[in-house]
Amino acid sequence: MRRLPSLLILLLLSLRGLASPYTPQADEEVLEQLPRRLAAVPRQGLALPQALGLAQAALQRARQEGDPRELGRAQALLAPWWHLPAPPPAVRLLRASMLQTQHQFDAALQDLDALLASASTPLALRAQAELTRAALLQLRGRWPEARSACTRLAGHSYAALGAAVQVHGRVCLAELDSLQGRNESAAAALAQLARYPQAPAAWILLLRAELAERRGLAEAEALYRQALQAEPSIYTRAALADWLLARRRWAEAAALVLSQQSNQAELMRLPDALLLRLAIAWRAGGDARASEAAAQLQERFEAAALRGDGSAHARERARYALDVRPDAGAALQQAIANWALQREPADAWLLWRAAQLPAAPKPLAAQARQAFEQFRRESGMQDARWSAAS
C-alpha cells in the first residue's frame, strides 16, 4: 500500500471528467461489450503444466488484444510460484515475459539472466530466454550485449533444437544491423531469411517494413500490410497507421484503427496505442470527434498515473503532447523520460521531434538534442524521418 498524496490533484482532475453516476432507462440497454468468455478454470490446485499452458495463452491474448487484465489472469494462474525467488524455469521465463510487457525491464532481465546462468534450465527454454533477452536488450539500446545473444542463437549452441533457432538468431542479427545503419545488407539478409520454411514470417515482414520506412522506401506500406495480415497485432496496426499519418492520409489511418471495432461509437474498447493514432488522425483531418478522443486519452493517462503506472506511458504521452494536444514542455519531458526506458527507432524519432519544437524550454531541448546526437553518433542509425532534415 503506497501513499500518493501528490496524485490527489490527478484524482481530482480525473473525477472532474466524470459525469455523475446514472441509472439506465431500460433493462435492454447494453452497458458493456464483454471479451470472449473462457472456459471456467479452477482457481486453486492447478498442476504446473496446466497452469503454464493457460498462462501462456493469457499472455498471448494480452499482447494481441492489448488488454492488461489478461496479464493479471496469467499472474493469478501462476500464483503458487509467482513470488518464489527461483521458480521452475518455465514459470520464470513466463514471468520475465510478463514483466517485460509491464515495462518492468530490470526485473525481467534479472529473471532472464538467472535462467541463462543456471545449468538446470532446459535447452529449449534457454533458447527462448536468450531470444527474449536479446529483444529486451535491443529495446533498451544495449546493442553489443544483444548482438552476443543473437550470435549465440545463430551459432551452434542451440543446434540440437533444429534450424528454427538459428534462423531466429540470424533475423535478430539482421535487425541489429538495420538499426546500426547497415541498411542495404540488412534488407538483403531479411529478404533472404524470409524464404526459410522455419522463418518467423510476420516478424520478418514487420522488420522489413520498418527498415523500408527508415530508408524512405514506398514499399514499406505493402510490407506493413502483409505483416498485419500475417499476424494482426496491435503493434503492427499502429505502425501502419503511423505510416499513413506521416503521409497525411488521415481518413485511411482512422479507418485502419477502427476496422476491428464492432461498435465504432465506443472508443473505450480501443487499446491506448490505437486510440492515440485515431486522435491524431481525427485532429489533423478535422473530424468533429477529435476532442472526444483526446479527452479519453488524457483520462486514461491520468487513471494510469493514479495506480502508479505513469511511466509506462511515456512513449504515448510524448506523442500525445506532440500531435494531439501540442505542449512543447510536456513533449520534451515525456520524450526524455521515455528515452531513459526505451531506445527503439520510434523513441529516437520522438526525441528528435521534441527537440525541434520552437516553443521548447531551452535546457530541456538542449538535453534532448544532446542525447539524440550522441545516440546518432554512437549507433550509426539512419532514418529518413530525420536524416534528411538534420
Partner: protein
Amino acid sequence: MKRALMLWLLLLCAGAAQAHKASDAYLILEADATGLSERVDIALRDLDRELQLDADDNGQLSWGELRARAGEIDQLARQGLDMTLTDADGGRCTPQALAPLQIETRSDGRYAVLQRRWQCRAPAQVLTLSYRLFAASDPTHRGVLSLRGPAGAAQTLVLSPDGHATPLRLGAAHSLLSVLRDGVHHIWIGLDHILFLLALLLPAVLVREGNHWRPATRLRPVLLDVLGVVSAFTLAHSITLALAAFEILSPPSRWVESLIAASVLLAALNNLWPLLLHGRWRLTFAFGLVHGFGFASALRELGLQREALAGPLLMFNLGVELGQLAVVAGFMGLVWGLRRRPGYPRWVLGGGSLLIALLALVWLLERSLDLDLLSPR
C-alpha cells in the same frame, strides 16, 4: 516442447506493452460530522469475469442482467473491501443499506457504482481497510482510494489486494470552537509571543524621567499606552496571518522565526537601554507583522482546506486575541500592583528584561544558525 518454442517465438514481435488500462476499482470515501459516505466503482468486465453476469451469454451485458444480480455484486464488494469505522468517541459506526445500483462511464469502460452511508454517533475518526478484491483472479488489480476527512483534507491511496489491514485516521473534525481554542492555545504555549508582549508591558507602569524610572500615578495614560501597543500588535499580525493563510505571501520560516527572536531581543534591550520611549506602537506594529507569519504556520498545521479558510482563520485569530487579552489583563494587574515597590525598576524591569533578552539571544542564534543550544540532544 519444440512446438511450444515456436509459438513463443512468434510472440516476440509483439514488442512491448500496448498498454490498455489494467483493472482498477475506485473507492471514494467522504467523512462528515455524522458518518461517512462510501462509493465503490467496479468495472463491469471484472464483475462479469467473477460472477458471469451475462446471463444469455451473448457477449453483451445489459442493464437488466446487471440489475438482477445487484445483491451478489454488493456481497462481492463487501468481501473484497473489509471496512470498519470508529467515531471520535470510540464507537463503531454502522453501514446502512445499499443505495440502488447505478452506472458510471469511465475512459476504459462502464462501472457499477455501489453507494451506502455509514452512520456514526460522533464524527468518524479511524477507518480500517483491508482490501482483497479480485485477489484470486487478478493480482495486478488495484483499488484507487480517495479519502476525504471531515475537515475536507483529502488523500489518495493505491491499495493492493493483499488483505493487509490499514488503519487510516480521518483527523478530528475542526469545529470553529476547536480552532478558537487552538488560537488561544497557540499564544499560551508560544513563549516567544508572550515574552515579546511582556517585554513591552513591563515598562508601561513606569514613567521615565531623565535617567530614572518612577511609578506612574494615573491609570488612564498607562491603559492608553497598553491599548496602543496591543492594538498595533493585533492589527499587524492579523494582516500577515491572513496573507500567509491564503498563501499570498509565505516567507521562509527560518527567517520568520529568527526575526521573531530578534523582535523579543530588541524589545527587552529597549527596556535596559531605553532608546524608544514614546510611540512604541510603531515598533510593535513592525514586529507584529513578523509574528503574524509565525501564527500562520501554526494555523497551517491544522491542515484546513483553502476554500473553507475564512471562518477558521477568523476564529483562530479571535482565539489568539483572547489568549493575548488574558495575558495582558493578568500581567497588567500584577505589575500595576508592584510598580511602587522600590525594587521594581531594577529587579523586575531590569532583571526581567535581561532574562528575556538572554533567552531571545539564544533563540536568535539557534534559529538563524540552525543550532540546538538549549534542548538536550
